[in-house]
Subunit: 275 residues, 2 copies
């Protein structure tokens, strides 16, 4: 059963004048719950607080928020914790209030995660925007991802890949994308588009720790198709190897497998099933 | 006093799972009320319905909505009507529900509009994104405008102008921009960034009706500074001549004045004061 809190109080209603609704003026985090605890909670709170600084948005006191989220996850063996921070209500107009009263809301939902699965993906036609002012952040402005995800109903396709106007890959609608070229791991930059994912960060750290070179690069469709291995990452589903994109297919390769095993040791056992 | 309705019922609370809040998955309109009626209501509803088609979002029945908004404006001599349409609540994830129940909300607020004023403007440092999938629409994703508007507190500056990565002008934070070059009226395209404003549309129509050539063009900072006349347009404030931008100043010119007089005949008497 889903449960909801707003500013620490059980509840699910917010005021229509909240700037999160009015202008997308806020951030969110989607966090896996495992064995009664929010996974990588410190990394999620790091990102939330860094994003709040970039937006000039007062963040809730970290110790308090950490304790609240930990308490909310208690008793849930496997599930999802969603956390939203907005600039709260204020007078009409884009100008942020001088003294905002942010809204911080969270909810929990018990849900079984998918285990290690190879996935089929597609190209999306929706062009990913270039938004340097907010790129990398998980802001509430996600309409392009919605439009891209609305392009297919075929449930055998797990994810869609988006490109910008120049044909450069920005990521999946709800994931980051990695490719293996030679012995290097590559992923699109997130300085103009895309989100700096938590699982992306963990994957990059783990790869570097085991001596794999990692680079953030501009990446064309062709570069992706020519890669030896392709996988996507997401905080809820860990990493998932891409087995098919159009005419191209792949088998899970050694780099993907070894990263999945390292992640399993960090509690990301979605990846561990068939390694 | 502000009044609020949600789906036709007085109220101001929405569910935290509304996709308007979660993803900016919706549209809004800001409409001037004059003499108990929403001004240019048909144009606003045209834009809302065209935007809903682009987003694949079911729009409320137009006759019903028109009647509701007309009723909401009754008794308000001068004020603001804000209308919001979202894809409503749905399951977690970007994929739109197969059968969404949209949220349509509106509010009214009596407020005196500013009359014809020359304004000072500034350049914003926040880079306007390029988002071809949603450009032109007044979506709920307005975080860049918020960040741009947060750049200044000086109340003598009425508006900030935003440029994209290439240094092309996209508009004001909450207005469209027009310049007069020779005898032509020029305004930035809204195919990759910016909003297709209702007052912008009215100004373009009025200009064409009185024989002024109008073009939508890529526009650099320099082109704006070299223009003979510059003004901004907005549904609430009509048109306002720019008198100062940094070192450059202007006096209201003949094209701006003649457009203001034409708009006054359409009920946009904000413009008419000193023509």
């Amino acid at each position: 059963m889903e449960r909801f809190w707003i500013n620490g109080v059980p509840g699910r209603l917010i005021d229509i004048t909240d700037r999160g609704l009015a202008y997308g003026d806020g951030l969110f985090e989607t966090i896996a719950i495992r064995h009664s605890a929010p996974r990588f909670l410190d990394l999620h709170l790091d990102r939330l607080h860094a994003g709040a600084v970039r937006l000039g948005l007062p963040a809730p006191e970290r110790g308090w928020l950490h304790a609240q989220l930990a308490a909310a996850a208690a008793g849930i063996d496997e599930g999802i914790l969603k956390l939203t921070l907005t600039r709260g209500s204020g007078p009409r107009g884009y100008a942020p209030p001088a003294h905002p009263s942010p809204t911080v809301a969270w909810s929990t939902e018990p849900r079984k995660m998918q285990r290690w699965t190879q996935i089929r993906v597609r190209w999306c036609e929706t062009i990913a925007g270039r938004n340097p002012a907010t790129a990398g952040l998980k802001t509430l402005c996600r309409l392009e991802q919605v439009l891209a995800r609305a392009e297919w109903q075929d449930e055998s396709i797990a994810e869609g890949l988006m490109c910008d106007e120049q044909g450069l890959l920005t990521g999946g609608t709800a994931s980051n994308v990695f490719v293996v070229v030679g012995n290097c791991l590559q992923t699109p930059e997130v300085t103009r588009s895309g989100i700096s994912g938590i699982m992306r960060r963990v994957v990059m750290e783990q790869a570097r720790e085991c001596g794999i070179e990692v680079s953030e690069v501009p990446m064309t469709r062709l570069q992706l198709l020519e890669a030896r291995e392709v996988f996507v990452s997401n905080a809820l589903t860990g990493i998932r190897p891409v087995c098919q994109l159009g005419e191209r297919d792949w088998s899970p390769g050694p780099v993907t497998r070894s990263l999945a095993m390292r992640l399993a040791k960090l509690g990301v056992d979605e990846c561990a099933g068939n390694c």
